[in-house]
């Protein structure tokens, strides 16, 4: 029997290498896929949550403008928005996009940089502003005849 024809002792080493390689591949594949899934889900859920929060804030702002729309009105209103979305802080900015009194509410998370826009129409002008997400305070300024939004 020549050395070349001698297969004894090789099956154990090969078996090791094969099972180690396949397990590593499998585990790596699963981790990569799981990580990707997590990433994708997080962006999607951040988008969904920002939209919900944006629509709630927009609705409350419109309600506040209806309530404050009179000569003698005074109004201070607290809007309870969640301080973090999927574990991230976020910014709310309000920009007028069309006169009169049509605004775009943009909510942006700081880390994942997901942005959601919500359009809203109010009965009164609202001062353009950017505030950190969380509890907001809406106040009517009778002198300026506009609503002001600030962090609470």
């Amino acid at each position: 029997m020549t050395l070349l024809a001698d297969r004894r002792g090789s099956s154990t080493a090969l078996g090791y290498v094969l099972s180690l390689g396949i397990s590593a591949l499998l585990v790596t594949g699963l981790l990569i896929a799981g990580g990707g899934l997590l990433e994708g889900q997080r962006d999607r859920s951040v988008g969904v949550e920002l939209r919900v929060v944006g629509q709630t804030v927009a609705d409350d702002l419109a309600s506040a403008s209806r309530l404050a729309d009179c000569d003698s009105c005074e109004l201070t209103m607290r809007i309870d928005a969640p301080p973090r979305i999927a574990g991230e802080a976020y910014l709310i900015s309000l920009v007028e996009v069309a006169a009169p009194d049509t605004y775009r509410l943009s909510l942006t998370t700081e880390r994942s940089e997901v942005t959601v826009d919500v359009r809203l129409r109010t009965r009164l002008p609202v001062a353009e502003t950017t505030v950190t997400g969380g509890t907001l305070v809406v106040e009517y300024d009778p002198a300026a005849g506009e609503l002001e939004v600030r962090g609470g």
Binding site: L20, A24, V27, D59, D60, E74, M77, R78, A86
Partner: protein, 416 residues
């Protein structure tokens, strides 16, 4: 594995670490989905309940004040101070009840009265006569340059026959007319300027400012409900029998003499009989009334602080009145001296001045005047020439509008 990881007891560490990492991934995923579920749940909740409560409360307060005003105006024979006291008594009790009620709803609400505006109620309670003035004439002016609210008639439908139409006209530059007629198909109410179909009159109830006939919505009427200040005129009022009532935003002081000047241009003030009787002993008559009431509403909830003024004028078709008016207008004549006593007020507080003018009755030219006078003052025009008849007019001027009161006086030649 023993070779890779070293030691027989440390086998399968790669799998273990992999499994742990995957577990962390799935745990994060579940947390993420949980927060999405929470937010979706948030989305289904009612947004800002405080705003709804505040809006509801405003309507409740306007309603309650309106009822109090209607109650205070109801009886005849009271002067304005009496009516205001009734209004205060009624609202005192109601405000306390409202405060208790809102407290159980998680809201601290306060209502404080912020004044009432004096007007006059014009009433004809005699159902055996038509819509006629004091001397029985059916073509006449009910009110001049006035805001009108709660104008309701109760007509005997049997009296609406195929004779001349009864026309109630509101004029403010353009005229709109409510026509009560019978064209052969039964009594009906229509608006002359509206294309909307006429409304059949069965029970005889016509509420002009609410736009209702027999308690039901009438499109034709709702289009002609008087808004702003108007002259109210009636033509052929004697054709039907019925009663009516309306509230105008001018106090009796200036209203009665000014309406008399319009209705009886040939007679000195006061003519006999006057357009309106002094008391409910005769019809039609005027009585002091509350035209509108305002109150300050103060709402506090957990998330909301809100204050506003609530104004109510039940049955008013237009917006709030901004025109000035005379709370007092009195011309006293002593021989050839005419003393004019006036006091004007303005609901929106921008009253500038009062112009007093004495015109010749014959040609309308001005004999004497006191222009830019204070809003509350007295002025004597001494020794006006004898044997002449004069209009004594006063005009309250504010930033955007004017309102005039008028009397006719003569020195020796009255009626002219």
């Amino acid at each position: 594995m023993a070779d890779v990881m070293g030691g027989a007891r440390d086998r399968a560490q790669l799998l273990l670490i992999g499994a742990l990492a995957l577990a962390v991934v799935f745990l994060s995923l579940s947390l993420l989905l949980n927060s999405v579920i929470y937010t979706e749940n948030l989305a289904t909740r009612q947004t800002h309940a405080g705003v709804d409560k505040a809006s509801d409360l405003r309507l409740v307060v306007a309603d309650g004040l309106g009822d109090a005003v209607a109650h205070a105006n109801r009886r005849s024979g009271l002067d304005f101070d009496d009516r205001r006291n009734v209004y205060r008594t009624v609202t005192d009790a109601w405000i306390r009840t409202l405060a208790n009620y809102t407290a159980t709803d998680g809201m601290a609400a306060g209502v404080s009265r912020a004044g009432v505006r004096e007007g006059a109620r014009i009433v004809d309670n005699d159902s055996t006569t038509g819509l006629v003035r004091g001397d029985g004439a059916g073509d006449w002016t009910v009110a001049t340059d006035s805001s009108v609210r709660a104008f309701a008639l109760e007509i005997d439908p049997a009296s609406v026959d195929s004779g001349d139409d009864v026309r109630i006209t509101f004029e403010n530059g353009t005229a709109t007319t409510v026509v009560i007629e019978n064209t052969g198909s039964g009594p009906q109410v229509r608006a002359s300027s509206s294309g909307a179909p006429a409304c059949q009159l069965t029970d005889g109830y016509v509420d002009i400012t609410a736009g209702r006939v027999d308690g039901e919505y009438c499109a034709a009427l709702s289009e002609v409900a008087p808004t702003g200040t108007v002259d109210v005129r009636i033509r052929n009022g004697g054709q039907i029998r019925g009663t009516y009532s309306l509230v105008v935003d001018r106090p009796e002081a200036g209203l009665r003499s000014t309406v008399d000047v319009t209705n009886f241009p040939g007679q000195c003030t006061p003519p006999s009989p006057r357009t309106y009787a002094d008391s409910d002993a005769d019809d039609p008559y005027t009585t002091p009334a509350i035209y509108a009431a305002t109150a300050r509403l103060d709402i506090h909830t957990q998330d909301l602080d809100h204050q506003r003024t609530v104004r109510t004028a039940p049955g008013e078709a237009g917006g709030p009145v901004t025109e000035p008016t005379f709370m007092l207008y009195n011309v006293t004549q002593s021989g050839n001296d005419l003393t004019v006593d006036w006091n004007a007020s303005d609901p929106n507080g921008d009253l500038a001045h009062v112009d007093v003018r004495i015109h010749y009755y014959s040609n309308g030219s001005v004999y004497a005047s006191d222009l830019n006078a204070p809003v509350n003052d007295t002025r004597t025009f001494a020794s006006v020439p004898s044997g002449t008849v004069y209009y004594v007019n006063a005009t309250a001027v504010d930033a955007g509008s004017t309102r005039q009161v008028s009397e006719i006086r003569g020195t020796g030649a009255c009626p002219p």
